[in-house]
Symmetry: C2
Subunit: 225 residues, 2 copies
């Protein structure tokens, strides 16, 4: 059985990606990051999800991106509310080089466990315009990864960065996940949740999520009334 | 004045690179990693060197690569002594994806401070065959970096990964550094130093360093008799 390293934030996209990798027959190794994010509660969700979906191992890597700051998620900058999510401007919730750092750790993890398949829930339709979610970025990362490690020098294998959601809308992602029996009640997408984990409802991530569930004519199962 | 982010391990190569970037007229921002390396004492050296050469800021980033292990530098694996340094086999001192992780953090740091110039002391002549020191790897990282960030979307600038030592032998690196007034007595290259910082003399890194000083007909100024 091939091993998959899956980036798992505890949000809707990465949870769907984890379920998708499982459905493809991979043995699952999840990796999450405690990076100083204001929505640190997502890690609690990630742990629940990893246990529910069934992973061999779940690494939670502490790295403090507050050392650099420069983002509303890691610094004293307000998370924008009710922003126009059609805007092409990169919002202040962008975290400098975050996916590059996350994928680099995933690469180290993959190399050590003998995996060549790294999964990320990036998507470019209903998203916030983050540059490190674009297909051309992921392709460039994959090329770099294939020159970076002893694993590809010592074998004939190549690393693949899998982004199965890359061209799906949020509504399509949810539909895919429902078909894979994903329990979205454990997922958290909000950038600025209340202490009890309830989503704010108006950050970019909440807006995109709400739109996705609305287009599936259903209520968000994570919202407790 | 352009800002340079310089990876600084406290070794001979990165110290020479820092001095080289200074001589090119850059404002210096050094970055080092406390990654669970057995030769943790190199960070003390890095601090001294950063202060002596004169940097605007020196970030020391804690990341624990012992989480993954898989290397003699981060795991319970002996550091090879008196190994044939002409061997083409990648030695167990290779740390999975280390330069990719280090450069990713350097990219985040650069983006936040508005720098587009990242310096690394990688070289491919007198080295241990690490895949993430090869020019083709560094070129691929640079391409990826230029798709990864908001900085290149929002400006016309491009990131450059500078590896000024890439084609120099260890002897040539030392010669270059001496011409730049580098004080090599503060540098530490050994993978397995004694508690007081004295080098073991027989790991790959010591062998390469000793060869470099011998070819310059001089004693290693870091060795206290």
């Amino acid at each position: 059985m091939a091993k998959a390293v899956v980036l798992l934030s505890g949000g809707l996209d990465s949870t769907t990606t984890l379920a998708w990798a499982k459905a493809q027959g991979y043995e699952l190794y999840a990796i999450s990051f405690q990076y100083g994010q204001r929505h640190n509660i997502e890690l609690k969700k990630a742990r629940e999800i990893a246990a529910n979906i069934g992973v061999i191992e779940h690494k939670i890597v502490p790295i403090d991106l507050r050392l650099f700051g420069g983002s509303a998620l890691t610094d004293d900058i307000d998370v924008p509310k009710n922003r126009d999510i059609e805007s092409t401007e990169i919002p202040v919730t962008y975290v400098p080089a975050r996916n590059t750092i996350f994928l680099s750790f995933a690469l180290a993890y993959a190399e050590v466990i003998g995996s060549f398949d790294i999964f990320i829930g990036a998507n470019v339709l209903d998203y916030s315009g983050y540059p490190d979610c674009r297909p051309e970025y992921l392709e460039a990362f994959e090329k770099m990864a294939n020159l970076a490690t002893a694993a590809t020098v010592n074998t004939n294998e190549k690393f693949q960065i899998h982004a199965p959601l890359i061209q799906l809308s949020k509504a399509e992602i949810i539909k895919l996940g429902l078909g894979l029996n994903v329990d979205y009640s454990s997922t958290l997408s909000c950038y600025d949740p209340a202490v009890n984990g309830q989503p704010c409802g108006s950050c970019d991530s909440c807006q995109l999520r709400n739109k996705g569930f609305a287009e599936n004519d259903m209520a968000d199962p994570a919202i407790k009334l």
